[in-house]
Symmetry: C3
């Protein structure tokens, strides 16, 4: 079966679509924003990616939320909770790591 790749570069694709499953990773495009601003960007990008793959945010299966500062998790959660459609939350792990770009506060593979 064909694998659909969305915006492939030599290093990564924004998303892959295969057998009804979409994998994607979102990072904030604009870094001079606080945690809530960066999370809003990531989630808006996720919606666009899901649409390109023929899905939507009500059908998320699993997300990992990498943050660089645990003190900002409540700010992240406020945006996250407001974004999800009721009854459609994915499985979620949230943890602190270091990300490649020091301006990034959050990265979300799903």
């Amino acid at each position: 079966m064909e694998i659909q790749r969305i915006n492939p570069t030599q290093r990564w694709s924004d998303a892959t679509v295969y057998q009804g499953l979409i994998h994607f990773v979102e990072v904030p495009a604009v870094l001079n924003a606080d945690m809530q601003g960066q999370v809003k960007q990531v989630l808006a990008q996720a919606e666009a990616t899901l649409a390109l793959g023929g899905s939507d945010k009500s059908r998320l299966l699993m997300a990992t939320i990498y943050v660089t500062n645990l003190a900002k998790v409540p700010a992240m959660n406020a945006v996250w909770d407001a974004w999800l459609a009721p009854g459609s939350a994915p499985v979620r792990a949230c943890l602190k790591v270091e990300l490649i770009n020091p301006g990034m506060l959050v990265e979300v593979p799903s």
Copy 2:
């Protein structure tokens, strides 16, 4: 196809079941326990989650084991090795990160 969500809240679901695949994340429910006690909780919870999704621990595909202290990995491994049915170990990555709740020693998405 319908997505089955186990114990959905506004923030996360305990598990999602779709196309024969179960995704779940387990964290210890009782934090005043040492690493072995926390891992035993996580694995017992995983068994319960798998049963709700129509599967069992002999059919794990992949697990990530997030720990907060690498010195406690041998204690974790002892419980893990004893828990798995022979011949049924999943693919596994184990790494040190920081978790949201400082009392949590381990978190396991699968």
Copy 3:
């Protein structure tokens, strides 16, 4: 449906194959190598694992690249970019964590 496990031990399998999806984790086998040497090992091992599972590197869906030193990401990327077949990059997350063996510079679940 049967789950195929490649090189199962009591603790982990090198790969699992189920419903057309392969999960695997690679770590460098020889640790007295620099980042480029370790990444080359990991990617060669990934090719061997994919072949055992009936796939190849042109069909990767998602990879997480755990590194222990962000300063070595450019060295990792150079090997990674040269290895991928044009147009076939997977979704990718790359982040700094601590790995179990302090000699490991990189670990790649996919």
